[in-house]
């Protein structure tokens, strides 16, 4: 299960997101790191420093692309320019697979630059799956779609988020980038049990897992990626490994970024949870046992 057709049969281990404050350290010290995830859009330029840095990273490390603006769920047609630039980058990085989000973010050619939540409807699943297939066919690399954190739900929804995710990936025949922190954040904001989500997605399609930190406010939880993951998120990660097997894992840290060593040490905690998950039998946690507290006060 770890290496599957949705992640290009890779068993990458534990990586971190490649971020500007770490460039110098990485290029000068060449620290050990199983792999880096890059934000595709940061390197979809014609030339200049970003591509120079990327090429130097590619000489030393495995890199997987992660996008933030394909907007599979938007009813807008795909942008040809975006696809062309993305394909150029795919050829450069030789990414074994590629991920972007299960969300929408543009309407009539205007971009929000945000990851907006989908209405969980069959029509939306059909539109989304169609676009995932189109992108996958054009880029000729496997695609994993990532569940997003959300702060709003639509009246129009016809199913749960995990049912929607399952519907999309089955129709598109693509993989899942399972973000356990996003599941946690959304469960806090929408009062569902995160283990219901974890237990009910097609585990054989999970090609990668994201972990990250978030911020708790008085009335909601925000996906800020500015802390280490909290214990309940690590526990969810352990359960995800139990269900999916050891899977390509990546820690995201995007604000108040500590040193490279601190971020990578935090990421490597994943190995402890992988070891624990492998020791205990695969079992689906019951909702009552695993229900996380809903109160999110700060």
């Amino acid at each position: 299960m770890p290496a599957n057709r949705f992640n290009g049969y890779t068993d990458l281990g534990v990586g971190i997101g490649l971020r500007i404050p770490h460039y110098r350290h990485i290029l000068e010290k060449k620290p050990t790191c199983d792999w880096f995830e890059i934000i595709s859009e940061n390197y979809m330029c014609d030339a200049g420093r970003p591509l120079e840095i990327l090429d130097r990273i590619l000489e030393q490390y495995k890199v997987v692309q992660h996008g933030v603006s394909m907007y599979f769920g938007s009813t807008d047609p795909l942008s040809r320019e975006h696809l062309k630039r993305l394909k150029t980058l795919v050829k450069r990085t030789k990414t074994p697979f590629l991920s972007d989000h299960l969300c929408w973010g543009s309407v009539d050619g205007t971009y929000s630059h945000d990851l907006l939540p989908m209405p969980y409807t069959f029509a939306a699943a059909k539109v989304t799956a169609r676009k995932v297939r189109e992108v996958q066919d054009y880029l000729e690399v496997p695609i994993c779609v990532e569940n997003v954190s959300s702060y709003a739900e639509f009246h129009a929804s016809e199913m749960t988020e995990w049912e929607f995710l399952s519907e999309v990936v089955e129709q598109a025949d693509c993989g899942i980038l399972l973000d356990v922190n996003n599941i946690y954040v959304s469960s806090m904001n929408h009062n569902f049990n995160p283990y219901d989500y974890l237990n009910n997605v097609p585990h054989d399609r999970v090609g990668q897992i994201h972990i990250a930190g978030h911020s708790k406010y008085e009335k909601y939880v925000l996906d800020t990626h500015d802390h280490a993951p909290i214990d309940p998120v690590w526990k969810m990660y352990e359960q995800a490994i139990r269900l999916c097997g050891p899977t390509n894992t990546l820690l995201e840290w995007d604000a108040h970024i500590p040193t490279f060593e601190d971020v990578y040490d935090e990421a490597l905690k994943a190995n402890r949870f992988i070891a624990r998950a492998m020791k205990s039998p695969a079992s689906r946690a019951t909702s009552k046992e695993r229900r996380a507290p809903v109160s999110a006060g700060r």
């Binding site: 200049g48 420093r49 309407v107 971009y111 630059h113 907006l116 409807t121 029509a123 709003a152």
Partner: protein, 329 residues
């Protein structure tokens, strides 16, 4: 109340609206598009005082009513509260991008006017690209159209907007295979037409904004360093001091990059004119002739003294990699 109801229905017909879920009937693709249009219209509405979501939607309905029509509330947040999270994120993200890309314009205008300008610009020119890199690409046109936003510094702000956009282009703009000095040797100047690198921008400014921006960036960097122990829990744009505008002075600058570092290179007027003419497709001979004509300081019957520097200039420009072959028509 009746009047209000009639107005609301009328407004709903001319505005994007989301159909409420009908039991037993699934959403259609057309309804999905309408829902996304409505949601986008709500989250992209300008923020009100204190960065709060406006109380009314653009069609006159209350935002409360509009949000409740398509967003579920929960036990802690109303439908409007939930839309407001995305509304703030939308504006903060785009405003931050312009803040980062236009420090010079910000320093000239001061925070309050820069804030007003950013909002007005984003309302008229929301992002049309998958990348925020292109967010400012209409700013020059916008400022030409709205001089009231920068008065009495209209010319200076226009120069600054051009200068700062040139830096965006210079940072990661396309680079073609450069022509070397050897490639240029032996070429007939009357026939030689060159192209300039796409990442290179030539600017004729009425103010020495290159020095001004360097000073602003230095100041901002030192402010960031001073504030490095502060934990940012909220979005705060720090110490937005307005800087004293520079005195007028014709300035010619090439914004370019070398070994992937961004540079501003001062040019003499004839250098600017030659490069500009070359970029416009003139032959080398015609480009130099244009510079001689444009050089008001020299009697047209004699060669200007800078002509003796021409070879040095071209060698330097070629070494910087500024020249490339013209695309075939």
């Amino acid at each position: 109340m009746v009047k209000k109801t009639v107005k609301t229905r009328s407004a709903q017909r001319s505005s994007p609206s989301a159909s409420p879920p009908v039991s037993g009937r699934r959403q259609t693709e057309a309804e999905l598009r309408d829902l996304q249009r409505l949601a986008f219209a709500c989250i992209s509405q300008p923020l009100g005082p204190g960065n709060a979501t406006l109380t009314h939607f653009r069609d006159g309905r209350t935002m409360q009513e509009v949000a409740a029509g398509f967003i579920k509330p929960n036990d802690r947040l109303t439908s409007l509260d939930r839309i407001a999270i995305y509304n703030r994120q939308y504006w903060f993200r785009l405003m931050d991008c312009l803040w980062d890309d236009y420090p010079g314009l910000r320093a000239l205008l001061g925070l309050r006017r820069f804030e007003k300008l950013r909002i007005a610009y984003l309302i008229e020119h929301p992002s049309k690209s998958f990348t925020m890199r292109n967010l400012g690409n209409h700013l020059v046109d916008f400022l030409e159209k709205h001089p009231e936003l920068t008065a009495p510094l209209e010319t200076m702000c226009l120069d600054m907007a051009r200068f700062e956009w040139a830096q965006v282009v210079g940072f990661d703009g396309q680079e073609k295979k450069p022509l070397t000095v050897d490639d240029l040797l032996g070429q007939d100047p009357a026939m030689l037409r060159l192209s300039l690198q796409p990442y290179l921008t030539l600017l004729e400014m009425d103010y020495p904004l290159d020095d001004f921006v360097i000073a602003v960036k230095k100041r901002d960097a030192s402010m960031r360093s001073e504030a490095s122990n502060a934990v940012e829990t909220d979005r705060v744009e720090k110490k937005p001091r307005r800087s004293r505008p520079p005195k007028a002075g014709k300035t010619f600058v090439a914004v370019h990059r070398h070994q992937n570092d961004l540079y501003y290179k001062r040019l003499e007027k004839p250098q600017y004119q030659i490069l500009k003419a070359l970029g416009e497709g003139e032959t080398l001979t015609d480009a130099c002739a244009a510079a001689i004509v444009g050089d008001g300081e020299t009697d047209s019957s004699e060669n200007p003294p800078w002509l003796f520097n021409l070879q040095t200039w071209f060698r330097s420009w070629a070494e910087l990699g500024w020249f490339c072959r013209r695309d075939k028509a």
